[in-house]
Symmetry: C2
Subunit: 317 residues, 2 copies
Amino acid sequence: MKIVAPPEGALLVHEVGLRDGLQMEKLVVPTEQKIAWIEALLDSGIDGVQLGSFVHPEKMPQMADTDRLFHHFTDRGTERERPVLSGLVLNEKGLERGLACGVEVFCMGVSASETHSRKNTGMSIEDANRRILAMAREAKAAGRYVQVSVQSAFGCGYEGPVPMERVLSIVRTYLDAGLASLSLADTAGHATPDRAEDLFARVRVLDPSASWACHFHNTYGLALANCYAARRMGVRIFETSVAGLGGCPFAKVAGGNTCTEDLVHALQRDGLRRDVRLDALLDVARDVARFFGRDMAGSVYRTGPVPVPAPVLAQRS
Amino acid sequence: MKIVAPPEGALLVHEVGLRDGLQMEKLVVPTEQKIAWIEALLDSGIDGVQLGSFVHPEKMPQMADTDRLFHHFTDRGTERERPVLSGLVLNEKGLERGLACGVEVFCMGVSASETHSRKNTGMSIEDANRRILAMAREAKAAGRYVQVSVQSAFGCGYEGPVPMERVLSIVRTYLDAGLASLSLADTAGHATPDRAEDLFARVRVLDPSASWACHFHNTYGLALANCYAARRMGVRIFETSVAGLGGCPFAKVAGGNTCTEDLVHALQRDGLRRDVRLDALLDVARDVARFFGRDMAGSVYRTGPVPVPAPVLAQRS
């Protein structure tokens, strides 16, 4: 299962725009439109696609079709190898729904900010932690994969700085429970490359064999810089959002997520992930911009990739 | 002279938006408006401000008042310590004008792309190099400081990849001529953090005592990431543009420059350059956006800086 335990040397892209992107948008995307985007993302060669979250449909109408999306993509079987399908769960009811509709990787997390935790889940960090551990056990017992994350790990729109010790403490709780696929999420976009290096260095020594993902928001323009810093510290999974969709509606200031196609474009410039079809990602990004009728945060879907110079034609004699 | 020979450990900001930013804009900024922006930039605590370039006024009406701007700011003397005033020169006529109006640091450069060089200056790289060396000698003989740069050092909108050996060769020419304040400019925005680290590592070993600046464009979203990579390799001067103004009209694809206030915001998050008044930079950026009547590329002038949480008030008994 690549996106929870990446092969040696791999750099993996986990698209979360359908969840962390769309939940920010007022205009509800019809299921058929989501399916078209997901199809294209699955075909592009990235490694995981998060189809949605399992929240109460009335609380977030944008996510009301999450179960239907999973049924659509998993009921067809796995006749061909395709990226992993992940879903975000916040509570037991969500877990139950996710188990019933074929979620392959359950993403779940706790905020390192007490205020963000209460606003997002209605629970204290401690209660949320207890619940996550129980849910993770249940998902694993059902044969599914689990990725746990620490949200607001680099700071909180409500509380400001988040003590690093609180992040480390949540990480230790996860690791002690045998959860070795983890993510640090910069929900409000407060991270800098220096802070990203520092925090990832500290969590990695807690268990060098654990697998780490990073999830940055571009609120202050640093998402790609932070991805490079995280990569330098051994992080190999990048949670990104096509067209740079996104943000967390419960964080006071939230820009878009790291832009999927901008990251892939940068990696390809360095000779990495040449297997991903950048043009397919750019098509989705352009279509997302068309759907919402506005410029999205991503750069490359507007500029086009760095042009390849035209080959010098042999002169006719 | 800080911005050509930075003190040990310093990280310096050289604002180039009035030149590399405005030359991209069709709407000519009135001199009085430029003066107001320059005043605010000089007061903000950054280290250098480039007032304009000395090109033919008919070729670039936006730069027609460069001499007047220098006279305005230098004729008042140096009653208080203020940032360095720099100007870009492309030819002998420009040098003559710059010497007459009080330019403190002459910025001049050669493109590492033959096509870009010919389009930008009408000269081959070799001819442009020869001219730069002669101009630099003359400026230094007149007691002025000189910074030389290699443009299109990371790739070219016309030619695509630029051989690293060509960049190194130009750098060697400069160093051999005793020019020890240098800059690598990513005119088309083709750099990535990996490439920035690689190229700056290679040029720095040619003369470890030389001073290096970096000049990135955000065409593909990587300007801040590249600044961090350059900083890691010992680069200490950042050429940036307020509000992210800019781009080179002679490069086929050109996004804005690295955004001054976004970089300062990021540095301040890491405890660096706390002496710069970020609020003053944000005021200029907002004013620039108002003037041009559109959203500029910068992030922080729109989001505001990472909020400092309200202090917990002592409870009344």
